[in-house]
């Protein structure tokens, strides 16, 4: 049964940063040059094709954008400057918006001012909240210990509530992703056994980004893994050891060592990424969507204020430390709220999931060839 073409889809994707998609004349160079392009997942050309023709449903069910790490080889060699790499990037943004049921993601990606407004709003709300909350119990001149302006226990509690809320959003979106890519089409339905059997894949890819390391270019992966590990370390420290990190005057060195390393990692990698994008030093830095800038900017801001706040505290300026802490939180909260479920950060779940699902789809296919699962055609 024929699918209907939607000539407007390209324009839609362009608001997500796609460029020159229609320039592609399908020589197949990009697919052949990509080390990840293996049957049954042949990309980026085919995804480009679906997009050119406007096969919306095909694209929604498409895992391939998540299997691409944008090393840029395809874009560099493209004879028509059709930017397949950037197209895959924009498809990831688009998919994130498709998975998100709230429609917020869609809004954030399509208008940068909406995103800025959102950030500002949440930041102010956060600031206001903590200000009121902080002054109500503690003294702004006290950083830790009794009568602290922002007692770590309270922050801790706050962190966990926020984590739960955002987690739920993200989880729902992940489920939607599953439905679009695995559940909807009977041909891609895997048995529970398969799910269990492939679970390892999920964790492996989540922590190591093994696949990324298989790109011909290694530098981007290194940068990314450092960034990601630093981030996770920081997250763990904050979620579980916040009191330890903030407690004084005695310093718990193992936690701090980790903390310092992580912060350093964050700042350096983010700075590198920023410089890269400004200089357009590499293919995958050539085109920057507004969200890329905002994301990096916020990350840098958060890292810097975090470090500053900590330093001030250790250098014994509790008042300044508290102010920066407030500023820090006014960055952290909007960043997490907007980025984790609705934007860039979500990919930390989608990517490993996509690889997990991809592995499963191959299992299903093999099973079908073996005749285990009956062939079912969809309308």
């Amino acid at each position: 049964m024929a699918v209907q073409a939607d000539p407007r889809l390209v324009a839609e994707l362009e608001t997500y940063g796609a460029q020159d998609v229609l320039k592609c004349y399908h020589c197949g160079n990009c697919t052949a040059v990509c080390p990840f392009s293996k049957e049954p997942f042949i990309f980026p050309r085919k995804s480009m094709r679906y997009l050119q023709m406007g096969l919306r449903e095909k694209l929604k069910a498409n895992l391939e954008p998540w299997l691409c790490y944008y090393c840029g080889e395809c874009s560099e060699q493209c004879p028509r400057e059709a930017e397949p790499g950037e197209t895959m990037m924009s498809m990831r943004r688009w998919l994130t918006a498709q998975y998100d049921f709230t429609g917020i993601s869609n809004l954030l990606y399509r208008s940068w001012w909406a995103e800025l407004a959102g950030i500002l709003l949440i930041a102010l709300a956060t600031g206001f909240g903590f200000w009121k909350f902080g002054t109500s119990v503690g003294d702004i001149h006290v950083y830790d210990g009794p009568n602290a302006f922002l007692p770590s226990s309270a922050i801790h509690a706050f962190d966990w509530t926020m984590a739960t809320i955002l987690g739920t959003f993200l989880l729902v979106n992940c489920v939607r992703m599953w439905w679009m890519t695995m559940g909807k089409d009977p041909r891609t339905r895997a048995t529970p056994g398969m799910y269990v059997h492939r679970l390892g894949q999920l964790l492996l890819h989540f922590f190591t980004q093994k696949r990324y390391s298989e790109c011909d270019k290694k530098a981007p992966w290194r940068l990314h893994i450092v960034l990601m590990l630093s981030y996770v370390t920081m997250l763990v420290l904050i979620m579980f050891f916040l009191p330890v990190v903030q407690a004084g005057p005695a310093i718990n060195w193992w936690a701090h060592a980790l903390g310092y390393a992580a912060s350093a990692g964050l700042i350096v990698t983010v700075a590198m990424a920023l410089v890269g994008r400004i200089r357009k030093s590499q293919t995958h830095y050539k085109h920057s969507h507004e969200t890329d800038w905002i994301f990096l900017a916020m990350l840098l801001y958060v890292a810097v204020t975090g470090v500053l706040q900590h330093a001030l505290h250790r250098l014994g300026h509790p008042y300044a430390a508290n102010i920066t802490y407030l500023a820090h939180l006014m960055g952290v909260v909007p960043m997490l709220v907007l980025e984790v479920p609705f934007s860039k950060w979500a990919h930390m779940c989608y990517r490993p999931l996509a690889m997990y699902f991809a592995a499963l789809q191959i299992d299903v296919m093999e099973a079908r060839e073996a005749g285990a699962v009956p062939e079912t055609r969809t309308a």
Binding site: G28, N29, R80
Partner: protein
């Protein structure tokens, strides 16, 4: 005719003025002075026009006629046509002032553009108004380049009893066509149809053949050019030489043969190929021991030559000829496959370019037409192992042909080279014909079989069992001495990791390296691809803006043999025309605005 109200609109597709872009403001002021012009407007560059809005504007200005002035006004015409229709005006009453078409590229672009606008406003075809002065015409003609284009032009003119100087840079005429094995789609052997013409050139009383010569300088004006030609020292007296091959046989120096595109060797004294015209030897001074040692070493050939035809004291000689017309037929050279390192040409021995394969499969080539793979052989003199074609070497079991190498690619040459698809199909046929059970694959983007009998040939190739794969493959690797080709089979939705024994690169065409230099000497312009620019794409594909200078064949753009021959003959027509009426025309570029405008006004009266 009734009073018109003409609106002149200046449009441009890209903002940012290029070198050949005229000054629009100046144009606008000029246009306003022309008769019946009621409105002059400069539209924003790059803006896409909205016919509805335009319609309102046209109606409000009560215009009857529109003149669109632009480098390529055609891009805006349809919008205006629709606007006219919407405004209830005559949609046919639109005139184009195309600066590009009418040569804003040469002379002062603004002056030129003014003239073009004037003609459009006065509704006089530009070519009728821009008439260069007639010049006296010297009956002799110079043809630069001895390939099939040059040969054809020279013969056509000479057959009319007119004198022709045919200058060829290499030691023989014949050009690339002489290197080919078969010609598509009829598969008759290139030599069979070319050699008679080469012989005819050699024997023609009206053709003075100057091989191993180059144009040094060009002076004078249309109809009367003084051309200095450097005849490089050949060191062999052609009248004495009987091509007996004794000198070559004894010569100790072996170098790679240009004619065999590097897959075979020749001596320092050599004849490019048996049917070479003129049929005499030539000495390659760079590689000759005797010359390099200033007569202290070797000299074997001179002793050997019974006809005493070899003279080491031979010197370059510069001759000056006076001609009325000059025909440029400098042809092409192939894209250097080394530039696309992903195909491993130059690294992997059995990745070959088209010309190499032409020689390999050619009956008169180094393997006598056997299609074999390169094998390692010990070179006795250099004591080194090197890859060579051994006539009874192993036959490839599978051959892959990759199309569009260096063509249709913004990173290399954006244009289509026009002949590669067909010669690739020809290769496939030859492989099948000579190695029946060998597999043969074509990796293509679009199969451009557009000529007479071409599509039929394509069908025939498919029947012969050649696998045509849509998708130009991207990579050639070597794994354990086995070539591995990675590509996408788009139609069958596969990623291929295919082991093959031989890869043929369908390298595209590029203008001859010397064409830039020659363009300067002749004052010709070239397009971004480096091809000579014709004076009019449609109706004068062989003329240039310089009077009495014509371009023929592939130097004007990639072409196959029939199109080249047709062009070559058409140049002959242009030349003969000037000779028959004993007057030529000056340079298009020199025609002044005043003269064009005056003539246009006169014509408009009639």
């Amino acid at each position: 005719m009734s009073q018109l109200r003409i609106g002149v609109y200046f449009c441009s597709r890209r903002n940012g003025a290029s070198a050949s872009a005229p000054d629009t403001r100046a144009l606008a002021t000029y246009a306003a002075t022309l008769p019946q012009v009621a409105e002059v407007k400069i539209l924003a560059a790059g803006a896409s026009l909205d016919p509805a809005a335009l319609a309102k504007e046209l109606a409000s200005r009560k215009l009857t006629t529109v003149v669109i002035g632009a480098q390529s006004p055609g891009y805006f015409k349809t919008a205006f046509t629709r606007a006219m229709a919407l405004a209830g005006l005559d949609p046919e009453a639109i005139r184009l002032a195309s600066f590009r078409e009418h040569g804003a590229g040469y002379g002062d672009p603004t002056e030129r553009a003014k003239a073009v606008v004037a003609c459009a406003v006065l509704d006089v075809p530009f070519a009728l108004a821009a008439v260069p002065d007639r010049t006296p015409m010297h009956p002799d003609t110079l043809v630069i380049g001895g390939g099939i284009a040059g040969i054809q032009t020279a013969l056509e003119i000479a057959d009319a009893g007119k004198k022709v100087y045919l200058v060829e840079r290499s030691p023989t005429i014949g050009g690339h066509m002489a290197m080919f094995d078969k010609t598509f789609p009829t598969l008759d052997c290139a030599a069979c149809i070319l050699t008679p013409k080469m012989v005819a050139v050699d024997q023609h009383e009206n053709i003075q053949l100057m091989t191993w010569s180059e144009v040094e300088s060009v002076a004078g004006k249309p109809g009367d050019y003084q051309v200095k030609i450097r005849k490089k020292a050949r060191y062999v007296d052609l009248d004495a030489c009987v091509a007996c091959n004794d000198c070559s046989a004894i010569c100790p120096v072996t170098v790679t043969s240009e004619f065999d595109s590097g897959i075979a060797t020749r001596k320092a004294i050599y004849i490019p190929f048996p049917q070479a015209i003129p049929n005499g030897f030539v000495l390659d001074a760079e590689n000759c021991t005797w010359i390099q040692s200033e007569g202290t070493k070797c000299g074997a050939c001179v002793k050997k030559c019974s006809k005493e035809a070899i003279h080491f004291d031979d010197k370059d000689e510069v001759v000056e000829v006076t001609v009325g017309n000059i025909v440029v037929a400098t042809g092409f050279e192939t894209f250097d496959a080394r530039r696309m390192d992903r195909y491993g040409y130059g690294t992997f021995p059995n990745v070959l370019t088209a010309l190499e394969f032409e020689r390999l499969t050619n009956a008169s080539g180094p393997t006598g037409g056997n299609i074999v793979m390169k094998t390692k052989k010990l070179n006795k003199r250099t004591k080194q192992e090197e890859w060579v074609f051994d006539p009874d070497g192993p036959r490839p079991k599978s051959v892959a042909i990759i199309h569009c190498v260096g063509s249709r690619d913004r990173n290399y040459n954006p244009y289509c080279s026009r002949v590669c698809c067909m010669y690739s199909l020809k290769f496939a046929h030859l492989v099948k014909e000579k190695l029946h059970d060998a597999k043969c694959y074509e990796f293509y983007i679009d199969m451009r079989a557009f000529g007479k009998g071409y599509e039929e040939f394509f069908e025939r190739i498919k029947e012969e069992g050649i696998h045509v794969v849509r998708g130009r493959s991207a990579k050639v690797k070597e794994v354990g001495g086995q070539l591995l080709l990675r590509g996408e089979d788009i139609v069958d939705d596969k990623v291929l990791e295919m082991p093959v024994d031989m890869v043929l690169l369908a390298v595209g065409l590029e203008p001859d390296a010397g064409s830039g230099d020659l363009a300067r000497k002749l004052g010709l312009s070239r397009d971004e691809g480096g091809w000579y620019t014709e004076s009019d794409y449609n109706i004068d594909p062989t003329g240039t803006h310089r009077g009495g200078i014509f371009v023929a064949g592939t130097c004007q753009g990639p072409k196959d043999i029939p199109d080249t021959v047709a062009q070559a003959s058409s140049v002959a027509a242009a030349v003969l025309k000037t000779i028959l009426r004993e007057q030529g025309t000056g340079s298009q570029g020199d025609v002044t605005l005043a003269s064009i405008e005056n003539l246009a006004r006169q014509l408009a009266e009639i």
